[in-house]
Symmetry: C2
Subunit: 255 residues, 2 copies
C-alpha cells in the first residue's frame, strides 16, 4: 500500500481537485483506492455526496478514540474501487484539543497500518493550514504532492510551504519525497508562463513534468460529484493528471 | 471616512483581487484610499511591492503597541491617492498571543479613528480564517463584502461564513451590512450558471447585482503589481467591479 498526501497552506490551489482526479484515475485502472479528507471544510466529503456538518462517523471519531474500528468509518462512494474516510467540521477543534499534547502526530499512520492489506493507494486531501491534521498527513505519507497555481501571488505561498516542510522534516527521521505540481496553467497569459518559468528555474528537480492546464470541466465535475476522469475521460485536464500518475507510479513502486 | 472589509474563510475566492481592484478604482476617481492587509500571507503587501517576510513596520507593530503612530506605519504605493498598511508574516502569531485576552477585537477600529480625516475610504483584506484579525476587521467596518466563487464547493464554504458572521454579529451591538459578491463567473459552464442561480434564490437581498466574470487579466495585473483598473481600464473584470463600486457608493454615502 502506498500513501500520497496532497498539501499546500495556500487555499484554492487545486488540492481537492488533485486528490479526487488522481483517485478517480487509480480506481479506473483497477487499484483499490482510499481517499482521506483531513480538511474541516470537507470539500472531498461534499464532493462525494456526504455532509461534513452532519456526518456521524468521520476522521474525528478516529482521533477521539483510536481504537474505533477504522473499517466502520470508511464509506463507499458511487464508484467501483473508490472509498472515502470522510471529514466532519468537528475536526476543526482537534488543534485546540490535541495541539499541546506530544506524540499526536502519528495517529493517522498507526491507523493506516490496520488497513494496509485492503487498499493499494491512499490519497490524503489536506487543509489549507499548518496544524495537527497536516502534521499527521505528512507523517503518514510516502510521497507528498504540492499543487501550486501558476501565478505570482501563489509563488510566495509556495516558499512558505517549503519552509514549513523543512521544519516538519527535521522532526521526522526519514525525509518525505515530494513533487511540486503546477496547476491552473493558462498558456494564453504571460503571468502563467512567467510563473512556470520561475518554478522551472527555482525547483528543477522537484517540479513535476506534468503541468495541469486550466480546464473549466473541473467545475462541472465537482457539481456532478464525479471525478473528471469518470465524467469526461477525454478532457484536457484528465490527460495531464494521467501523465502525472504515470510518473508517480514509475517513481513509487507499489508496495 | 468609510471602512469596507473583504472576507471569506474559504481561500482563493478573490478577496485580495476585490480589495486591490476596488481600491484602484476609488483612487482613480480621486478618493484618498487606504488598503489594510490583515492576512499573514501578505498577498496585498507583495502585490504592492513590499516583502511581508522582512518588512519592519506593519499591522503587527500596531497590535504590539497601539500607541505607535499609525501614520508612521502607512506606506505609499506607486499610485496617486493609494496607500497601504502592510502585513507581516509575524501577524500569524497574534492569535496565540491575543486570542485568550478579552477586548482585543477593537484595536483596529480605535486606530482607524485616528486617521479618519486623512482618508475617504479604507479597504481591509482579510485572512482566510476566523481569528482575532478577522474579528478586528469585522468590528471596524461599515460594510462587509463576501466574495464567493460561482462553483459548487464554494457554496458550502459560504454557508459556514454566514454562520460565523451571525455569531460575531451577536457580540456587536450594531449589525454589519454585507453584500455577497459572485466571482470568477464563467458563463460557458453550467456549473457556474447553476451556482449563480442557487445564490440568487438563497440570498436574493444580500447578493450584489454586479457579477465578476473570469478574466485572465487579473493574473497579469498581480504579476505587474498594478491594480487592473490602472493597467487595463477596459478589461471585462474592471467593468464589473466598477458597477459594484457604483452600487456601494450609492448605498454608503461618504462620511
Ligand atoms: N486545472 C483547473 N482548471 C480550472 N479550475 C480548476 C482547476 N483545478 C481546480 N480548479 C477549480 O478551482 C477551485 C479550487 O480548487 P480546489 O477546491 O481543488 O482547491 P483547494 O486547494 O482544495 O482549496 P481549499 O484550500 O479551499 O481546500 C475549484 O472551483 C476547482 O473546480
Ligand atoms: N475574476 C477573476 N478571474 C480570473 N482570475 C481571478 C479572478 N479573481 C481572482 N482571480 C485569480 O484567482 C487567484 C486567487 O485570487 P485572490 O488571491 O484574490 O483570492 P483570495 O481569496 O485573496 O485568496 P487567499 O485566501 O489566499 O487570500 C489569483 O490568481 C487571482 O489572480
Ligand atoms: Mg480543498
Ligand atoms: Mg488574499
Amino acid at each position: 500500500m502506498k500513501v500520497w498526501a496532497v498539501a499546500n497552506q495556500k487555499g484554492g490551489v487545486g488540492k481537492t481537485t488533485t486528490t479526487i482526479t488522481l483517485a478517480g484515475l487509480l480506481s479506473l485502472r483497477g487499484y483499490r483506492t482510499l481517499m482521506i479528507d483531513m480538511d474541516p471544510h470537507g470539500s472531498l466529503t461534499s464532493y462525494s455526496g456526504y455532509d461534513p456538518d452532519t456526518i456521524e462517523d468521520s476522521v474525528y471519531s478516529l482521533f477521539q478514540n483510536p481504537d474505533v474500528m477504522i473499517a466502520s468509518v470508511i464509506k463507499r462512494t458511487k464508484f467501483d474501487q473508490l472509498f472515502l474516510l470522510p471529514s466532519s467540521t468537528a475536526i476543526a477543534t482537534l488543534d485546540r484539543q490535541l495541539g499541546a499534547q506530544g506524540g499526536m502526530g502519528l495517529i493517522l499512520s498507526h491507523m493506516l497500518k490496520r488497513v494496509s492489506s485492503r487498499f493499494d493507494y491512499v490519497l490524503i486531501d489536506c487543509p489549507p493550514m499548518l496544524g495537527v491534521l497536516m502534521v499527521n498527513a505528512l507523517a503518514a505519507c510516502d510521497h507528498l504532492i504540492i499543487p501550486v497555481q501558476t501565478e505570482f501571488l501563489a509563488l510566495k505561498g509556495l516558499e512558505r510551504m517549503m519552509h514549513t516542510l523543512k521544519m516538519i522534516m527535521r522532526s521526522r527521521n526519514i525525509p518525505v519525497p515530494y513533487s511540486i505540481l503546477p496547476t491552473m496553467f493558462d498558456r494564453r497569459t504571460r503571468a502563467s508562463q512567467q510563473s512556470l518559468q520561475f518554478l522551472q528555474e527555482r525547483y528543477p528537480i522537484e517540479l513535476s513534468e506534468a503541468i495541469i492546464p486550466v480546464d473549466t470541466q473541473f467545475r462541472e465535475a465537482s457539481r456532478a460529484g464525479m471525478p473528471l476522469p469518470i465524467m469526461a475521460p477525454d478532457a484536457r485536464g484528465v490527460g495531464a493528471y494521467a501523465s502525472l500518475l504515470d510518473s508517480l507510479l514509475g517513481q513509487a513502486p507499489t508496495g
